[in-house]
Symmetry: C2
């Protein structure tokens, strides 16, 4: 089956303690779509401006991402710039220029409306609703989010949680949403808001799934160098949805393995700026790391 | 086989945001010995003052801990008091009264000198050396430490690392010791200091082993309430050594499982103040949580 992914399509200017990279291909949908494309046919819903470099369209195409739902509009592409601190754990936003993203209000191509797997990647909850409104009986819907929406669009987000099968957020967002420091108590509180599957991402500490089959403690792949963690969370959930969409059997039978595939895809993302490392990755390298993680967690 | 454990034997006064508990049984050796006692005969090397409550001696005895090496000297028992912050992750020391611990310089009972498994629990590296000097060809020696010794006794500690098989420390100590933020790079640097097995503890995020069989990502047992994390690290390494001492086969064949048993023992420690929860635990409850962790990590 295919995966439909809506989210931001952006140009990211990223500073780390050692390097500076202007106007890389970025955005939640870009990272998630490239990650998903390793496993399943992927449809991208997004918007870019006329300044969007052709080489980035070529990069999407190299990954066989269906661009029917990508609008190219007069104006500028959404541009984000940020800076990482020395330990790469904290980042701060230097500038956000919305450009054509400000009025983004996608109408889905008819052929996309019956796609089975839907990833509402990080984007305003109102837009996540708007895309979901256009879908006809999707098989599995997952939403991601960020602290910004908890701050300025909490009501929309809470309403969205009643409409999705799965919800993915990071640990600090889980604490912010539930006012609960203990992640396992937070997971229970988030289930009460609607989603059957809740995944809390913990960066280099891995992630935790709470679902019908209980808790799954998902490892992160050990990395010796982290060039740029931007997009790792998007790659994780994109890889997970891509894997799920083609796996045979029930969601419950596949979601743990799907998370491990997502985790490994995210590990490649961290090893280069923007999508530089992800896009050079081969499926065989992903399989190798999944096997390694299997060995590293066995006891 | 038996485990010999040297470390601090103390009275701990612990404040958390919700409760205050004065003069609980504590100290690295107390926590480690009780944890080890679930799995193997355990010998405790330590010192307490005449004020040491009889009920705590009874508690050791209830766990069949060999107290031949526990000195009771005129003076006061080592007393530590500390306070945890609201999220239970940060703690600060309010007072440290060394008492009889100040001149602690144990001579090991002859029968203990040929014990196979030695745990040098958190205590001054000079004392860890002193105990190790008295051992005859132990099969497996593991040392634990704390930030204090990195600050005031680094040379002694570095010298100790050349003499032990395994070294256990937490993530912030690993960064402090190696000046390296990336834990997997830090692990390599610590191996170069001597130990064949290096374990980095990450609290609720579990722990990581680096050894001859590669990396092992050890999960922490999911807890919904943490009453008091004091001694969790000591319980972890104590449980691990206790399990290893009776397990059949090589260290490499058993150390991963031993870590999981240590991790589970530590989870019980966190569920009560001091040793209150650990000492109420039954071996069957430990087995149950180990089985649960097996299920929670399978993919």
């Amino acid at each position: 089956m295919s995966v439909l992914i809506v989210g931001s399509t952006a140009l990211d200017s990223i500073k780390t303690p050692t390097r500076e990279n202007p106007r890389l291909l970025g955005g939640s949908a870009s990272h998630a779509a490239v990650a998903a494309s390793f496993f399943s046919p992927t449809q991208l819903i997004g918007v870019v401006g006329e300044d969007f470099p052709k080489k980035y369209l070529d990069l999407y195409r190299k990954h066989k991402i269906d661009l029917t739902g990508l609008q190219i509009l007069p104006g500028k592409t959404f541009h984000w710039s940020g800076e990482y601190e020395i330990n790469m754990n904290n980042r701060r936003t230097l500038a956000t220029e919305l450009g054509v993203f400000e009025t983004f209000n996608p109408t889905l191509p008819k052929a996309h409306q019956s796609t089975g797997f839907v990833l509402l990647a990080n984007i305003a909850p109102a837009l996540q609703h708007h895309v979901l409104d256009q879908m006809r009986k999707p098989k599995f819907v997952v939403a991601d989010t960020m602290d910004l929406w908890l701050n300025i669009a909490l009501k929309d987000l809470i309403r969205l949680l009643k409409r999705v099968d799965g919800f993915v957020l990071n640990d600090s967002e889980a604490v912010q949403l539930t006012h609960e420091d203990n992640l396992f108590v937070a997971l229970k509180k988030i289930h009460k808001l609607g989603p059957k599957y809740v995944i809390i991402k913990k960066g280099s500490h891995g992630s935790i799934l709470s679902g019908p089959k209980g808790i799954f403690i998902c490892p992160a792949y050990p990395l010796h160098t982290v060039e740029d963690p931007t997009g790792a969370g998007d790659s994780f959930v994109g890889g997970m949805m891509g894997y799920l969409a083609t796996a045979k059997g029930s969601i419950d039978a596949n979601i743990r393995r799907a998370m491990v595939y997502g985790s490994v895809t995210a590990s490649f993302c961290c090893e280069g700026f923007g999508l530089n490392a992800t896009t050079k990755t081969k499926r065989a390298e992903i399989e190798k790391r999944v096997k390694e993680l299997e060995k590293m967690t066995k006891f």
